[in-house]
C-alpha cells in the first residue's frame, strides 16, 4: 500500500503571492458593502468568476474561496486522506460562484490542490470610478495578508516585486526527529512597508507559517537560495527492500 500525497506540496519550493499555490494564500478585507465581482486567473488566463456580497447584515466573518475549484483542468475536487483539512469551510466542494461576508470580515483566497499559479482580481460590480475598492492579489496592500508555509528546508530570499528596497531572508531548519512527535510552531509575522520587511531575517521551522502583512504595495516572492538537505551522509530515500537483520553474537546466559 502506498500513501497518496499531492506532489505539488513537495516539488514547489518557491512562493509568489501573485501566483498562489497550495503553500500560500491571501486574505483581503472588503471594507465597503456592496456586490463585488471577482475573476480567477491561472497565469494570464481567466478561468472563472465569482461574486462576493459584502453585507453589513451578514453573519459571515470569513469567506473561504478555493481558487482551485475554478480550475476545470483539475480532475476532481481536492480531498485528503483524512477528508477534511483543518475544518475549513468550503473545501472539497464545487466552486461556488457567490459568496457572502460581513464588511468587517475577511475573504480568504487559497488553493486546495494542484499546481496552483492562481491570481484573483475583484472589484465592485457597480460603477466605481475611483476603483477604490479594487483588489488584485498580484498587488497586495491595505493590510492584505499573504500566508505562506515553506516546507523545503533551506535558505530563501524574500523580495517585494513592488518595492526594490524590500529584501529579506528566511531560513527553514531541517526537520529533526525529537523525543516527541514534531508539530510546527505558531506562525511568524513579517510586516511589508515602504521601508522594507520588518523583520528582514526570520528563522522558521519546517511547516511553520509566516504571515506577510502588506502595509504598502506588495508582491511577495520567496526563492530558494540554498537548499538544506540535512546531515551529511543521510541515506538516500529508496525502497527499503528486504534486508537480513544481522544479529550480534549471542552471549550465554548463565544461570
Amino acid at each position: 500500500m502506498k500513501m497518496t500525497f499531492d506532489q505539488n506540496l513537495f516539488t514547489q519550493v518557491g512562493l509568489d503571492s501573485g501566483s498562489l499555490t497550495m503553500l500560500g494564500g491571501v486574505t483581503h478585507r472588503f471594507l465597503e458593502a456592496g456586490q463585488y465581482r471577482g475573476v480567477v486567473y491561472r497565469g494570464g488566463e481567466s478561468i472563472g468568476k465569482f461574486y462576493i456580497n459584502v453585507d453589513k447584515n451578514s453573519p459571515v466573518a470569513q469567506a473561504n474561496i478555493d481558487l482551485a475549484a475554478f480550475d476545470t483542468s483539475l480532475p476532481a475536487p481536492a480531498t485528503t486522506a483524512t477528508g477534511t483539512i483543518c475544518g475549513c469551510q468550503g473545501e472539497g466542494t464545487k466552486a461556488e460562484t457567490t459568496f457572502e461576508v460581513n464588511p468587517k470580515g475577511y475573504a480568504v483566497f487559497h488553493v486546495s490542490a494542484g499546481a496552483g499559479g492562481y491570481a484573483v482580481r475583484a472589484s465592485k460590480a457597480a460603477e466605481d470610478p475611483k476603483q477604490q475598492n479594487q483588489f488584485d492579489s498580484r498587488e497586495l496592500n491595505r493590510e492584505d495578508i499573504f500566508s505562506a508555509v515553506v516546507l523545503r528546508p533551506g535558505t530563501y530570499s524574500v523580495s517585494n516585486g513592488l518595492n526594490t528596497k524590500a529584501k529579506g531572508k528566511i531560513t527553514i531548519g531541517y526537520p529533526k526527529i525529537g523525543k516527541t512527535a514534531y508539530r510546527p510552531p505558531s506562525p511568524a509575522k513579517i510586516v511589508c512597508s515602504e521601508g522594507g520587511f520588518e523583520p528582514a531575517n526570520v528563522e522558521l521551522q519546517p511547516g511553520q507559517a509566516v504571515l506577510f502583512q502588506a502595509n504598502a504595495p506588495s508582491r511577495i516572492t520567496l526563492e530558494l537560495v540554498k537548499a538544506d538537505d540535512g546531515p551529511a551522509g543521510r541515506p538516500e530515500h529508496t525502497r527499503g527492500g528486504w534486508k537480513k537483520a544481522a544479529l550480534p553474537e549471542q552471549k550465554r546466559k548463565k544461570a
Binding site: F5, F10, T80, I85, C86, I177, K179, T238, R239, K253
Partner: protein, 303 residues
C-alpha cells in the same frame, strides 16, 4: 556376574549424548492476532553442547545445552488504522485559525516487517534423566520369520537404550537488546516503503519527524512496558509457548525418538561370508545404569 559388561566414562557418555542431541530437530510455525498487532513465526531448532554431570542416583544431568534457532523467521504486522499525522496549518488565517492545512494522512493498513532472527539461542538449563533399555520389535516383522529372516528383510529386533527425562527446563529465548534497533529500523523501512518513490528525502524526514520516535510508536502500539527484547522474548517463549513446546519436544525426543545406543538382537558377531549365514548372538537382560563415574551396560548371552 553378567556375561557382558560395557562401561563408558563421563567423557565418552558426553560424546554419546552429543550425538543424540545432534540429531534433534524441531520445526514449528504459528501465527496469532493480538488485536493491535499480529505476529507469526517459523522456527527450526537444533541442540548443541552442554555440560554433563553423572549422579550416584542412577541419573545424569545436562546443563547449558544450547538451543540454536537455525531458522527463526518472525513476522510482525502492526495494524495502524487511524494512526494519522494530524494536519498542520499551511495557510493560517489572521486569528490563529487555519484556512489551508497540510493534509493529515494516516499510516494506514497493516505494516508488516519480517525479521530474520536466525541464530538466536535459548538453553536447556537443566535436563535430568536416567537410562531405560527398551526392546523394539519391528511391527513389520512377520510372525513366521526367524531372526535371520528379519535381519535380511530389514526388520530385525533392536535393543535400545533411551534417555528417560525426569525433567527438562528450557530458558526463555535470549533476545539481544539490539533487537530494539533492528525492529525500529525494520518498522522505519516499512513506513518508508509506504511513501511514494518521488518523495524527496527532506520530505521523508519531515514526515518522520511528525511521526516522532519510532521506538515510542512501536512500544505504544504493541503495549510494551518493558524492553522490546524482553517483550519479544516473552512473546515467543510464553505467549506463543515456544519454551513449553520445546520442553515437550525435547523430552519426547530423548524418551522415544532417538536412542542413546541401539543394536540388533540377535547381535551379529560374524558377518555372512562365502554363502554362510551371519552368526548372531541373542542378548538378554540388558540393563543400563549410571553412577557418578560412568555409564554401565550389562547383558547376558542367551542360550
Amino acid at each position: 556376574m553378567s556375561h557382558i559388561t560395557i562401561a563408558a566414562s563421563a567423557k565418552a557418555f558426553q560424546q554419546l549424548f552429543n550425538e543424540v542431541e545432534k540429531n534433534f530437530s524441531f520445526t514449528k510455525s504459528d501465527s496469532a492476532n493480538f488485536g493491535p498487532f499480529s505476529a507469526s513465526y517459523s522456527v527450526s531448532v537444533h541442540l548443541s553442547g552442554g555440560n554433563l554431570q553423572l549422579n550416584n542416583d542412577n541419573t545424569f544431568e545436562m546443563q547449558d545445552v544450547d538451543i540454536v534457532f537455525g531458522t527463526l523467521d518472525f513476522k510482525l504486522c502492526l495494524d495502524l488504522p487511524g494512526f494519522c499525522i494530524p494536519s498542520f496549518c499551511i495557510v493560517p488565517d489572521p486569528w490563529n485559525g487555519c484556512l489551508v492545512g497540510f493534509p493529515g494522512f494516516c499510516i494506514g493498513g497493516p505494516i508488516c516487517v519480517d525479521l530474520n532472527l536466525s541464530g538466536l539461542t535459548s538453553q536447556i538449563t537443566d535436563l535430568k534423566a536416567s537410562l531405560v533399555p527398551k526392546y523394539y520389535v519391528d511391527p513389520a516383522r512377520l510372525a513366521g520369520w526367524t531372526d535371520l529372516d528379519a535381519e535380511l528383510n530389514g526388520h530385525s529386533n533392536q535393543w535400545q537404550i533411551y534417555i528417560d527425562p525426569v525433567w527438562v527446563n528450557v530458558a526463555l529465548i535470549d533476545v539481544p537488546a539490539t533487537i530494539d534497533n533492528i525492529l525500529v529500523n525494520a518498522i522505519t523501512n516499512a513506513i518508508h516503503n509506504l511513501f511514494p518513490s518521488w518523495l524527496p528525502g527532506w520530505a521523508v524526514d519531515l514526515i518522520m519527524a511528525f511521526l516522532g520516535p519510532i521506538v515510542d510508536l512501536i512500544t505504544s502500539l504493541l503495549g510494551i512496558t518493558t524492553s522490546i527484547a524482553e517483550w519479544l522474548s516473552n512473546l515467543l517463549s510464553n505467549v506463543f509457548g515456544l519454551v513449553g513446546l520445546l520442553e515437550t519436544a525435547i523430552a519426547d525426543y530423548f524418551a522415544s525418538k532417538y536412542p542413546l545406543y541401539q543394536f540388533e538382537d540377535p547381535f551379529p558377531v560374524l558377518p555372512a561370508s562365502g554363502g554362510l549365514i551371519p552368526v548372531k548372538i541373542p542378548i538378554r537382560n540388558l540393563a543400563a545404569t549410571i553412577d557418578s563415574q560412568e555409564m554401565i551396560v550389562q547383558a547376558n548371552v542367551g542360550a
